[in-house]
């Protein structure tokens, strides 16, 4: 399409260095964008909320987070505040000297690859449903419709490195009826036609399109997939990758495992997982099916829960003195020497009082992250217990580092042919789930946690509520809000005060009264105070 003949229409390249057939289909690759960090795959991208990795400022993302890319959701940027219904979303007007408004608006370092999708991951299911014109999204001001046209305009304006076209998804946990599934495929097919035309026929977009592969059976979407394949065959620039919503679809579209070679030209495309795996076991499974890049909601979930992830790939060797060697004498029928080993946890609950005087790094497996090299468990435990925000920041940094090392080790194993064996050991050695953690969560970040009926998977598990006080996350949020308004009022006073140019004595007076950043625990009693060594209990004289 480009007439000068030297630049392909997209600046992205993806090389497959190795496909490990014997490992089921896991692949080793390298994704490159000019001017961005190179991404060796398999790998993961950071998952943002409203354009930020939760709790981590953009400078720390660049310095400490070990992620080369981030996923952002358009619905996080297009709310319509009631009083300003008619204003266009501010993000569309972001000036950007590097022509990357999405990076510029979010202060995301330009070295980091940005992926733009329509919905958050995981997305809240909309009661309004999608239409032929587009989808329903959930913003901080409520549900609203986004048409295919609006979405295409948004993508062209924001100019992410990678964009995922709209897909007709239900975001429900149950499988759609076959009638609904068929309509999902048809709509997505219609929408992708429009997408290709608007992006690459009428314009000459440099944005890399990662087309959705739907979470419905292959038989329901083969026509749509065929279109992708054909369009790509006639113009490779229109399709740079696949956004896969169900890893089990990969065998159907990969020529190595499927009987037909129908989709051979889709094989070399990078596959981005929008599957939200809930633990590293699921990551390994999807990776074995041929997934290349992951988005991992469990990272922030673990950090918010006070969990420091602690797994490594491969798992550490069994202790020299392992229980199996002693047990073999008792039970001769235990030939599998690695089976009876106690399972290792995938993460450690940092809020546990057992860490309160521990000067160890967060996890002992030689993690080199900022949190582990400059801080220790005792500090993180204290921060979580005092509900200081830095606790969650440090955990985010650590947890991202653990997963970065996990992927680096996987790539090494794929390169030297040891992946299958190491993955087997990993499955045997670690507990199936990441512990849920007993620490108090940060205040549920508002509207994303809105309840929307019986099918919703609760973000704030009910079990948490008893540690947060009465009610559920939402209630708690309200309560905190109430508490803060006094302080907010003080600040408002102060501002009005300043604007009117009068003395700030009044404000400062109120200020010191409202200065109650923390009171002792609800449950603290005199004995606690004494035990903690703050003061001594007084025996009243009789």
């Amino acid at each position: 399409m480009s007439s000068d003949g030297q630049q392909p229409t997209t600046t992205m390249t993806f090389e497959l260095l190795k496909t490990a057939i014997k490992d089921g289909g896991a692949r080793l690759g390298r994704l490159t964008f000019s001017g961005r960090r190179t991404v060796d795959t398999p790998n993961f991208f950071g998952l943002t909320s409203r354009g930020v990795i939760p709790h981590v400022t953009p400078d720390n993302v660049e310095k400490h987070l070990h992620t080369n890319g981030t996923y952002m959701a358009l619905e996080d940027f297009i709310e319509r505040p009631q009083q300003y219904m008619t204003r266009s979303p501010p993000i569309y007007e972001t000036p950007s000297p590097v022509n990357k408004p999405l990076n510029s608006f979010t202060a995301m370092p330009s070295s980091i690859i940005t992926v733009l999708g329509s919905r958050r991951l995981p997305a809240v299911c909309s009661p309004m449903g999608n239409t032929n014109q587009g989808i329903s999204v959930f913003t901080s001001t409520g549900f609203q419709a986004v048409t295919t046209k609006e979405y295409i305009n948004a993508v062209q304006t924001l100019n992410p490195d990678i964009a995922i076209p709209l897909a007709d998804l239900t975001h429900k946990t149950n499988t759609p009826t076959s009638k609904r599934a068929l309509r999902m495929a048809e709509r997505t097919d219609d929408w992708i036609k429009e997408w290709f035309t608007e992006m690459y026929t009428k314009k000459d977009s440099k944005i890399a399109t990662f087309a959705p592969v739907l979470p419905i059976s292959y038989s329901m979407q083969w026509e749509y997939l065929e279109r992708l394949s054909e369009e790509h065959a006639s113009n490779p620039a229109v399709l740079s990758g696949l956004a896969v919503y169900d890893a089990d679809l990969i065998p159907d579209i990969s020529s190595s495992s499927s009987s037909s070679n129908k989709y051979k030209n889709l094989d070399p495309l990078p596959r981005l997982a929008l599957t939200a795996p809930s633990n590293p076991h699921q990551v390994l499974r999807q990776l074995s099916l041929g997934m290349d890049i992951f988005l991992l909601p469990f990272l922030s979930t673990a950090s918010d829960a006070g969990i420091a992830l602690s797994f490594t790939f491969p798992p550490p060797p069994p202790p020299p003195n392992n229980p199996t060697s002693t047990s073999t004498s008792e039970s001769a029928a235990a030939p599998e020497s690695d089976l009876p080993l106690p399972l290792l946890p995938l993460g450690i609950d940092m809020s546990s009082p057992s860490h309160s005087v521990s000067l160890l790094p967060l996890t002992t497996n030689s993690c080199t992250c900022y949190a582990c090299t400059t801080h220790h468990r005792a500090f993180v435990q204290h921060l979580l217990c005092a509900r200081e925000m830095l606790g969650w920041t440090l955990l985010q940094i650590h947890n991202h580092a653990v997963v970065a090392s996990f992927f680096a080790a996987i790539r090494e194993a794929l390169a030297d042919g040891t992946f299958e064996e190491k993955a087997r050991l990993f499955a045997l050695r670690y507990e199936p789930e990441i512990p849920s953690g007993l620490g108090e969560r940060p205040r549920a970040r508002g509207y994303h946690f809105k309840s929307e009926g019986p099918n919703e998977v609760k973000k704030n598990k009910p079990a948490w509520s008893k540690f947060e006080g009465e009610g559920e996350g939402g209630e708690q949020g309200k309560e905190e809000k109430k508490e803060k308004t006094v302080e907010e009022k003080v600040d408002e006073l102060r501002i009005q005060d300043e604007q009117s140019g009068t003395t700030s004595a009044l404000a400062s007076g109120v200020d010191s009264v409202a200065e109650t950043p923390l009171v002792p625990d609800e449950n603290a009693d005199a004995k606690d105070l004494e035990e903690k060594g703050f003061a001594e209990t007084v025996e009243e004289k009789k």
Binding site: P54, V56, N60, H382, L394, E498, S508, G533, F534, T537
Partner: protein
């Protein structure tokens, strides 16, 4: 000094705090005494080690929080008596206990336990009692202080708004030769004129070569005027706390980033500010934050508060840095004038307390 109440400055890392130029920050003894508690502090090896802070720490005595947080606190000669917030059983914080806690914390500057009263307290006799008791408590603190070789104990001047009582207290305290001296009891709602008189009265009597610390002071104009009156150091939670409500401190006043007018404002939080958030993006360590982005995430993602915290702390430290430079260059009056003209576009709205206080030290805000 920014205030890291519970050994953490509102979500920013010690590394980021360092990058704002901060070399001394405050921890609250009351909070650290409860969480993580003295036993943990001893086991970990103090608060520096706990929070990974390579620079200086100052701790208060814990008494002020007692009195202000727990309404039922009662001060006796022995110490601060209060009822446990939960079960109502009586508790006691003594000067000795406060010292022991601060020794465990290992702060570079520690404060004596004092008998704090709001300066507007109407009872003169009680005010005198509090002042004299604070002197007696200083003696007990000095005696109980285990590490005078490596921790600096500051005394605290009390005496409310009674200047004669303040003078008397100054003489008594100075005679005890602590490494530094604090002026306490202010920021409690007294008129600004009275505040300035107290600061000026005390600084006049204090020795030249000891740092003078006005406690709990933090609005920019308070810092500048108090500096003019001869004070050296200050602390306030306001810059970090106000950040959490979306407020940015700038030389033109406080701006609330939540306001709609900033939704499409793609300028830095403050033009010309050198903090990591605001400095031009082509400079080392620049984050490239816009007002629009802070607006977008105010009250929605903690990161917005972290960014404003970095900016606000930088602003306050930079303001004091500017004052130091001006003093060295012998241009302090010009610095003060510029500060007020930036803050108040109309001279007529200059606060009279500041105008009057500055006049007493020979700075005339209206002279051009």
């Amino acid at each position: 000094m920014p205030v890291a109440t519970q050994a953490s400055l509102k979500g920013i890392t010690p590394e980021q705090l360092e990058s704002t130029g901060c070399r001394l920050c405050l921890n609250n003894t009351y909070h650290l005494g409860l969480k993580p508690g003295q036993e943990v502090l001893d086991a970990v090896g103090g608060a520096h080690k706990l929070q990974g802070w390579k620079h200086n720490l100052l701790t208060d005595s814990g008494g002020f929080q007692m009195v202000s947080l727990l309404k039922l606190a009662k001060v006796t000669e022995e110490g601060v008596r209060f009822l446990s917030p939960h079960d109502g059983s009586p508790m006691l914080l003594t000067p000795e206990h406060s010292m022991s806690l601060q020794n465990s914390i290992g702060s570079d500057i520690m404060m004596q336990l004092d008998d704090v009263l709001v300066t507007t307290h109407p009872d003169k006799a009680r005010m005198r009692e509090a002042m004299e008791r604070s002197v007696r408590w200083l003696d007990r603190c000095i005696k109980a202080h285990k590490h005078p070789d490596r921790q600096n104990l500051f005394c605290i001047i009390q005496g409310g708004l009674d200047l004669e009582m303040r003078r008397e207290c100054c003489r008594e305290m100075v005679a005890r030769d602590t490494p530094g001296i604090a002026i306490g009891g202010l920021s409690g709602g007294e008129a600004k004129d009275d505040f300035c008189k107290v600061v000026a009265t005390c600084t006049e009597l204090l020795p030249e070569l000891k740092p003078r610390y006005v406690m709990g002071i933090g609005y920019p104009e308070d810092l500048v005027v108090s500096t003019a009156l001869g004070a050296d150091m200050f602390d306030c939670v306001w810059p970090t706390r106000t950040a959490r409500f979306g407020n940015a401190i700038t030389k033109h006043g406080v701006l609330n980033m939540k306001k709609e007018q900033y939704a499409k404002d793609f300028g830095p939080i403050e033009d010309g500010c050198g903090c990591p958030c605001c400095r031009p993006v082509d400079q080392e360590g620049a984050i490239g934050v816009t007002r629009a982005f802070v607006h977008h995430n105010s009250a929605k993602e903690t990161v917005a508060a972290h960014l404003l915290t970095i900016h606000n702390v930088w602003y306050q430290l930079h303001l004091m840095g500017g004052a130091r430079d001006a003093i060295i260059a012998d241009k302090f009056p010009a610095f003060v004038k510029e500060f007020f003209s930036n803050l108040y576009p109309d001279r007529k709205s200059y606060p009279s307390w500041a105008v009057n206080a500055l006049k007493t030290v020979g700075i005339d805000l209206f002279e051009s």
